[in-house]
């Protein structure tokens, strides 16, 4: 499954959303170059929910940002829907959800959700319809006129998810979206996100620190290790699409979680 991909081989059929081959990325810092990612190969099919898990500094956020064309790789190839990340960004192929909601404080929730639609030139009537649908999708109907500071952290992040989905991209990139929220809110949002993924049939790439979150949400879990950031293991998670939080008590869940934990520990061991 981790074999390097031959991009030019037209293997990138329509089912492939992401194709990454031999990706490396280094940053230049004051202390010299830092290798953030090294030799990454990854293929993601349409409709999958992929989690990236690993300790801080393993490059999971950088990988997501490279796919989004927010960082430029030093070597290797990334294909998003068969296009370069730059073309994919220009085609508005993905919605991005950041660690913080990054809502614009001077816009109410409705207008925050409408922001990408304004930029992409959607007509007003269409914008209104899409905003209403987005609010409904994340259970924020009735909160459209509120300003971000009037919402809880969880509601703000839900609004930011509605914003990322407002222009209906096939691909949703999420960078630790629930990292700053407490456990109870996080559980609830995990369930909602799973529902949303099931309904919208999007492909989701999800960065997280949390093992239960990764196992609960994903179809596949990519375990990463640091210095330099690379893929240590890829674990299949075959839970049914309509699962609930109860599956976290099942032996299968614990088994997968254990494998992830082992992977993380192994990845860590050759650090010092």
């Amino acid at each position: 499954m981790l074999s390097p991909l031959a991009i030019n081989e037209k293997a990138a059929d329509s089912a492939r959303v992401i194709d990454i081959a031999g990706l490396s990325l280094s940053f230049t810092t004051a202390d010299g170059p830092v290798q953030a990612l090294s030799g990454i190969n990854l293929a993601v099919e349409r409709g999958q929910f992929i989690s990236f898990i690993g300790p801080s500094g393993c490059g999971k956020t950088t990988l997501l940002r490279a796919i989004a064309d927010l960082e430029t790789p030093s070597a290797g190839v990334i294909r998003v829907n068969g296009m370069s990340p730059q073309q994919a960004r220009a085609n508005r192929a993905y919605g991005y959800v950041f660690q913080a909601p990054a809502l614009y404080p001077w816009r109410n929730v409705e207008r925050n959700i409408a922001l990408p639609l304004e930029i992409m030139g959607y007509p007003k009537a269409d914008r209104q319809a899409r905003v209403a649908r987005g609010l409904d999708l994340v259970n924020l109907t009735g909160f459209g006129k509120k300003f971000p500071w009037q919402l809880s952290g969880g509601m703000q992040q839900r609004a930011s998810i509605a914003r990322a989905l407002s222009f209906d991209p096939d691909l949703l990139l999420m960078d630790e979206p629930f990292g700053a929220l407490d456990e109870i809110v996080r559980d609830k949002l995990n369930e909602q996100l799973l529902r949303l993924w099931d309904v919208t049939k999007k492909t989701v790439l999800f960065v997280t620190h949390s093992i239960p979150e990764a196992v609960f949400l994903s179809t596949r879990i990519v375990v990463m290790s640091p210095r330099p950031g690379r893929i240590h293991d890829v674990i299949e998670c075959g839970f049914p699409r309509d699962r609930t939080l109860d599956i976290r008590e099942t032996p299968q869940f614990l088994e997968v979680a254990n494998r992830v934990r082992h992977g993380l520990r192994e990845g860590h061991s050759y650090e010092d």
């Binding site: 816009r107 922001l115 500071w149």
Partner: protein, 290 residues
Amino acid sequence: MRIDRALPVTIIVAALIAIWYVGAIFMNTPLQRDFYANAGRTDYSAADLALADLNMDRPKLPAPHQIVAELDKTVLETAPTSKRSLVYHALITLQETLLGFAIGSTLGIGLAILIVNLKVLEKSLMPWIVASQTIPIIALAPMIVVILNQFDITGVIPKAVIAAYLSFFPVTVGMVKGLRSPDPLQLDLMRTYCATRAQTFLKLRAPASAPFFFASMKIGVAAALVGAVVAEVTKSEDGGLGARLLAGSYYGQTVQIWAALFAAAALSATLVGLIGVADRIVSRRMGFAR
């Protein structure tokens, strides 16, 4: 609640007035003693002396009630069309201030937009902008008047230019900071939408700069008024509060000087206050008010 807020203000104002009266007695006593000596009077009590100190014609430091009386005379009892009216002079100053502020803030915002959009300009332009403010305006003002006079530009414009010279700087500095205030995440978001520079400016940088904009405008309008007054001192024949200051000092009319100072301060406070009102209205609309 109201008492809570009114009480400290009242105490401070009362204390300042008390200190002022003490200061006035302290500063005017030697002069008043001389007057008494010249008139051959020796039979005055300390109370007589203090009372006389506070009601001199040309005191070193006029007492507050003298300034109030002067303001009453020159603002309320004199027709605003008369050259003896402070309102007449204040309107001249206001006109120069507003024109100078309009020029200065437009220039300031324009420079800030250029600097934020073109990295090279920060290095090449900013030192000159800073240098422009290190020259004392009192030295530069007469030259601006002379130079503009060469081009037959006279009247209100040279003074507005001097006012603009002082007011563009805080606006430039404030707006550069304001237009750069969006955090990296907010900017990344625009990138993920493939937004153009113009869209990023209009939908992110400009609204994010709103709080900085109003702070800049407040400092800018106060600076413009200082510039206008300095310009009037330079070229006093057209009137204005600065001309009143100059005339007052020429004839030793300290009460007139202080009255003009108070008028200028009141004008400045009014202008800053109006911008504060606009700030509050816009903040509420933009959801900043809590």
